[in-house]
Point group: D2
Chain length 141, copies 4
């Protein structure tokens, strides 16, 4: 699932490039966009009393970007077992050059941040996510 | 009431200076520090079911700062009538040069963001704030 | 000139709403979008050795927004004399309700942040900005 | 090397906790503080024409924090060969509970972001960093 956005001026630092911390924010945007496309927007997840907090992130920076650059974030669901979900992200510039590779892992929780098993609590959501996980894998074959 | 902090690298932009939006965040830090010193920390305000959202801010930028600069924010309570509270902030660099002048106005609300009158609901808090408003004025005579 | 964007999750705070400092960033996005539409993108301004730093901002908050809300920022050039330029911004939600009114004033400088007079140094840019200032005024009649 | 700071209100999100992206910024603060203590402040590195951009970061989140929490970031130099440098960070709350474990790796470059070998270009800086890398390891025995 592809998500496109431009780098804002306030996201650059005095090295002249996008501050590296912002990529962690960009993948949150891409993840939310992915969920919108799945018809399971994150605002709906929250309004039904659930949350998907972040357990870990990794980021490998390959090439810098700066103000006005357009980046594309390609997001895939790497794993999903109802308890944990993992995403992979590849960020490229408009000319196709690789900017960064990221991963994030999350758990499903209730509104008090207590872990839940989506298979038991929201089976239809689990199956929807599975559908998108498998389809995205096929896309790559 | 003075609050001192250093400019972080991630707060600069590619103009080589502190991004102007950050000053709005710095005065929030200074305001919270002021409330800590008053023994009315903002976390206590919230834990008792109240909030003090921002109604307006103004900022005049006089001189830029950048990474590693130490700034001092001098905060005063300009007005307080139990319904609204206004703060004034003067930011200077370590060498005394003027960086920016800001103001912020706020109302007192319950946890659902409905306005309240502090004089009626939390008279002791109102009087505490009044004490600091008047003392700070004296300090300048 | 209208600019539309959605509120990101990382832009909210624990009050449950968009943190007020972000609106200062949103109007920078709207301003850059305006300049793109004028065919005078800010990246071009910088690449030719000029900058347009912020001298002051004001913001009146009318109604809160939160994650997933779509906002529209309507930007107008209020003043332009070649030395200073002033913008006005009206932010509304998708349902038309007023979110915030902001202003920003700026000067034109060289790359060392020394003020310049655009009428003398870049007359074509001055006239282009004038055209957009006047047209936007007409739009309101 | 320990660095202490409080969580700011604007760093929380509507989940009620510190937004996870901020930890990437906190370790930059801790890294700069480490370099200050080494008497090799990052502003000096830049003023002599060098930079230390980030190549990768990892973050494992263990326990959430929120506004007003005090965190301690314990930073160590894990590797240093003059071309690359790696840091490890352990973040704890005031009660000693583990908040997060992070790593960051960096290269040394000139001002045009071209990699350099510190052993050849700035041998005294390399040896200074080595001293702190080795001392910090001893501290743990």
């Amino acid at each position: 699932m592809k998500y496109v956005r431009k780098i804002n001026y306030y996201e650059t630092d005095r090295m002249g490039i996008t501050h590296h911390s912002n990529y962690i924010r960009y993948i949150e945007e891409a993840r939310c966009n992915f969920m919108d496309k799945m018809k399971l927007p994150y605002s709906k997840v929250e309004s039904e009393g659930f949350m998907i907090p972040v357990l870990s992130v990794t980021c490998d920076y390959k090439y810098s970007t700066t103000f006005d650059d357009e980046i594309t974030i390609d997001t895939k669901i790497a794993k999903n077992n109802g308890v944990r979900i993992e995403f992979e992200y590849i960020i490229t510039k408009a000319d196709g050059s690789l900017v960064a590779k990221l991963t994030s892992s999350h758990c499903f929780t209730d509104k008090n941040l207590r872990p839940i098993n989506l298979k038991k609590v929201k089976k239809d959501w689990f199956e929807l996510i599975e559908k998108y996980r498998i389809n995205d894998s096929k896309e790559n074959i």
